[in-house]
């Protein structure tokens, strides 16, 4: 069917005040349903702000966008990494993220734009990433200095083996733990475009920084009045491991294992030499007998890892398992070798019963 593209004479600039204002009843219904993201418009008096919620206004130039946000999420999103149990934060932030995305669908159907609103989704995604880091990592004091280390209790619960140098050598044993390591190595090697025996264990200290206010700090009036200052401490990724103009796209390029002027056939042969084929999912060996061999999909390998443990862990962890594995592989095996090759993480959709 041929379509005729109609568009206005000019690409007109819009304002962000383009979403319909919910009625008070709708707001109350949202609060009752414990919604995490309730957009509001117009003047709201303090006494009209529901208990347990804060009114957060984001502004760019003269344009504003306000939402009602549960208190806890105020610092989950504006102080990522802080505020107690990372697992609780992961779930709350995911719910928030998905509600933002749901709201966006309404704007999309009306063809509207709202950059301030879309900033919420990005912030939630970053916050989620930081809580993932804090879920996997805990600090340990070595020689008076706080250094990052893996949270062994978490790894044990998730049945994730701690990767050591020894594991990076090809092991002959085929127990579950070494199989998990082999799969993670395969994912990392695809991301980096190297063979598994070229991987190295990463030093966490180079990837994350400890963020805290450890000395006296004078806050400006604006900071004190506009931010809730929860002084705590957390670990977060250094800026170079977060999305920026290059890393965002290039990590994806590298993720597919096609960077570095790679000879695909040679690459696949190397991997097959290094690994037992029973680890490899269908697409990897599809058409193996022919000269066309497609690369395995990282997603499928991650799903394979998730499938193996999802029945043995607490149900509230399950939706985050894939992201936890991705972050663990990022920090444990990809690391500094290529920040662009890091696996992306996105807050998952949670089923209602979780």
């Amino acid at each position: 069917m041929s379509q005729q593209f109609i568009h206005p004479d000019q690409l007109q600039k819009s304002t962000t005040e383009n979403y319909s204002s919910p009625s008070l009843e709708q707001i109350l219904a949202g609060v009752k349903a414990r919604k995490k993201f309730i957009p509001v418009k117009g003047v709201i008096l303090d006494r009209h702000i529901p208990e347990g919620y804060a009114l957060v206004e984001k502004q760019f130039g003269s344009q504003k966008f306000s939402i009602l946000l549960p208190n806890k999420l105020v610092y989950f999103v504006s102080h990522p990494g802080e505020g107690g149990n990372p697992l609780e934060a992961l779930s709350s932030v995911s719910e928030f993220y998905n509600e933002v995305r749901e709201f966006e669908k309404g704007l999309i159907s009306e063809g509207k734009t709202n950059a301030i609103e879309s900033n919420w989704a990005v912030r939630a995604g970053e916050s989620y990433e930081t809580y993932l880091v804090n879920y996997i990592i805990s600090g340990e004091t070595k020689g008076g200095n706080l250094t990052p280390g893996y949270n062994l209790a978490v790894l044990e619960e998730l049945n994730i083996p701690l990767i050591s140098l020894k594991d990076l050598k090809f092991s002959a044993t085929r127990d579950q733990s070494s199989k998990t390591i082999e799969t993670m190595k395969l994912i990392a090697s695809i991301c980096l475009g190297v063979s598994p025996d070229q991987l190295a264990v990463c030093d966490l200290g180079n990837l994350v920084k400890h963020v805290t206010i450890s000395e006296e700090k004078t806050l400006s009036g604006a900071e004190a009045s506009t931010m809730a200052c929860y002084m705590g401490s957390h670990w977060e990724l250094k800026p170079e491991y977060r999305i920026n103009p290059i890393t965002g796209a290039e990590r994806e390029i590298a993720r597919r294992g096609m960077g570095q002027a790679l000879n695909v056939e040679e690459f696949v042969r190397q991997q097959q030499r290094a690994l037992n084929l029973d680890l490899l999912p269908h697409p990897f060996i599809k058409e193996k007998g022919e000269s066309y061999i497609s690369l395995p999909k990282v997603d499928e390998l991650l799903n394979q890892l998730v499938t193996e443990v999802k029945d043995t862990v607490r149900p509230e962890i399950v939706p985050h398992l894939k992201n936890i594995y991705s972050m663990y592989i990022n920090m444990g095996l990809i690391g500094e070798a290529n920040p662009q090759a890091w696996l992306p993480t996105e807050p998952p959709k949670l089923s209602k019963e979780v």
């Binding site: 690409l11 063809g111 996105e346």
Partner: protein, 452 residues
Amino acid sequence: MDPPKRVKIKLSKSDIKRDMWHALAFMSKLRRDSLIDGEYTSEQQEAYLQHVYNLSSQIDILMDNPMFDKLQPLADRLGSRSVYSSYDPIQTYWKWKVPTFISELRDAALNVFREGFYETEQAYHLLQAVKYLGTKDISAEGRGAFHSTILPFQNPLPREFCYGDKSSLKENKNFSLEGNGSDLLTLKVNVNPRCNKRSLPFNLVGEAKERGYIKIRMAITGNHWVESKEEFIMRGFRPVSIDASPARTPIPMYLTVEAEINREKLPVKKVLNPLDYLESAAKLSISDITQPEHYPELTERKKDIVNRIGNPPEGVAIATHVDYPNSCLRITHSLVVEGFNKQQDLYWTNNGRYLVCVISSLPSPLTLVKPPAPMPLHECFSLPLGPAQIAPTFKIYSPHRISKLDPLDEVMISDKTSKEKLLQICEEPNVKYVHLRRFMEGVTVEDFEGFN
């Protein structure tokens, strides 16, 4: 302790730009995933549209007059013929037949993404955002129709549009073309047993590339004239050399040709698919770096627009900029000054894959050495940089030791002010965008960008 009842957050331009990279990153991911599969699910399509909405929102809020001037021609084209909305960088048709469109697209992408623009893929995502922005004020039905053209990748161009009646791929008594099926980018050709030797579609591969297929599956059964497989391959496919493999291959780089003769499979041939960005990447990896090839020549030089922009956020922006030329310029060119550890005065400019550093005081004697391994940039210079994976190509000059310089370097090491240097570089042919930054003791002291 509960947070205050009211919280205000002020967003800056850099916050919005950062969001833009997020949107682009996810769009690239979706595009790549679906291209590899040759199909997209409705979830992928919906997610892609959502990221297009994000990108459109960010462009909309940042849009100034120069950006508007670059985007409007794209909207005009989309409005003039619906086939423009089917553009995909895989289709080589546009490059050869409508080069002005490609040039407009690149100009727009350069204006929007600036130094973050490094591949044609981004221009594709930008075009989807323009589609979205252009359908704001139309009826819901019309908008829905256009939103349905916002896809991770586009279907191959219609035969009639590219060739009219002259297509080699026109179905006739010699060929039957199978429907697309689930794999949208694979062309399935069944050669009928009665097809004679001369009716072989010699232009098949070229045409498939132009229209945007990434794979051809050809089945030949019962044709007695096929004397040898080799001959068939030579005549039918004319594979080109694939030695010049570019450094970065985000999406399918070859048109894969699979053929069967009497049910016996032939070795698969891969024909280099000269996608825009691949070509530019390949050229850049072997060409003289002082000749920016990425951007098309200027037809009309416009007046410079020089903006003073603020300091970048700590670490991120600078590292990013330094990363940028890495992606094409390989480490083999890298030179590090031995014994040099504290930079005094460092400039860099970026006119499409070009980086130059000028250091006003260098230790004497100056020795240039090849780094033993990729070296993080921040180790070369005491700059607040992240560990760049590969040391970028540096040209390091001492003003006292000038041998042979290209015109841009001469400008850079002259005694002019940064602003004058920027203006002069903007005058150079082929220069479309310049970002000039000056560091002192690791701190940005001047930051200018200019368009030509």
